[in-house]
Amino acid sequence: MNENCCCHVFKAAPTMFKVSSRLNLADYLGIIQVRLGIARDSYQVKPGLYAVGNPGNDSEVLVSANYKLSFDYLRRELKGRDLWILVLDTNGVNVWCSAGKGVFSSSAILDLIKQTKLPGLVNHRRLILPQLSAPGVCAHEVKRKTGFSVIYGPVRAFDLPRFLDNDLKADEKMRRVGFTLGQRLAVVPVELKIAGKYLVLFLALTALLLVIKGQLNPANLLAKALPVSGAFLCGSVLVPIVLPWIPFRSFVLKGWLLGFCWAIACALLFGFTFWNWLAGLLFLPVLTAVLALNYTGCSTFTSQNGVNREIKLFARPLGLAALAGFIFFVTGQIVHFF
């Protein structure tokens, strides 16, 4: 991604770059692009040591991931400051996810400290890490092997100026991870794009079936496609919006409940036949439930054992319900055909 490069290389040291704390138009366009899920697998910054402002040998050293979005959100909070940023190679993945997978790790930090010759560059022995890198980093191991103390900064880069001005102390609020409406929605376009191709395929198939029957018109297409499309949108858009207010802790049950309500609404709205009632009530909630389960990865509080339990508990019932729904749907088509 050469066009997104925000750095120019210092000739003397191959791993040291200078970077601005001001984001330019290309950076903001990049943020929009990556939030829409376009080319987001290659949205990376070159790993290495970055200089913000004119840092000296007493300046603090921040550590970050090489996902450009993480890096941009960090540097734009550093206006008017002189600091070093150590950017680890996390394969372009954000801090929390890469730490969870052990890529943002103690050993990655050790390697980069050595590569960038950091000990010769600064007099102090402090590294400021994002709090959410802690699932991958062992502070006492870094200290023992490099002499650098790890100080865990705030969760959000937004709080970093106050943290830096407050003798590197984070208050309660800086340490907590929430899941606001804005945060819940920020990941929806990407999820829609990933799952959306199946919806497009479904719409194309529905249209094709109507063409074969010689009944293709907008009203017909809407009536035939809306139940499934709506269940799809319930799972990928409505679940994130109303997540905290749907009963149940389980994501599958949350999604299933919304899908069930939608299925009843559809049945009443379109005057379903007997077979379509059965098919709709069985199949549509499964679709929403699966999409809601998928949303666990976007949330900020689900655990691996919890998600594992959900999959073990619900995989079979959901599969059977979907299959039965499909059979009832086909039965209905055949019965009404004759």
Partner: protein
Amino acid sequence: MSSLALDQTRCRGCGICLQVCPHAVLTMKTERVEIVDIDACMECGACSLNCAFGAITVSAGVGCAYAILNGMLRGTGSACACGATPENKTNCC
């Protein structure tokens, strides 16, 4: 129910676990740490990994259905699809 477990006899009260926990699962009580909200624990493993005295254990992992299902299909345990695995190196700018 979270797999988080705390051995208070090993705790020295340094408090680094309180700093790294994103959901205020732990609290400090008379120079020892205590679990106060185990249901909020997401088993990220940050507290356990950063405890220099081995006082905390947890079966840590990522609570992402996509990663878990992906791992089941490949038979590798949980595997992210977002490129966050050490062997998954790609080019950069």
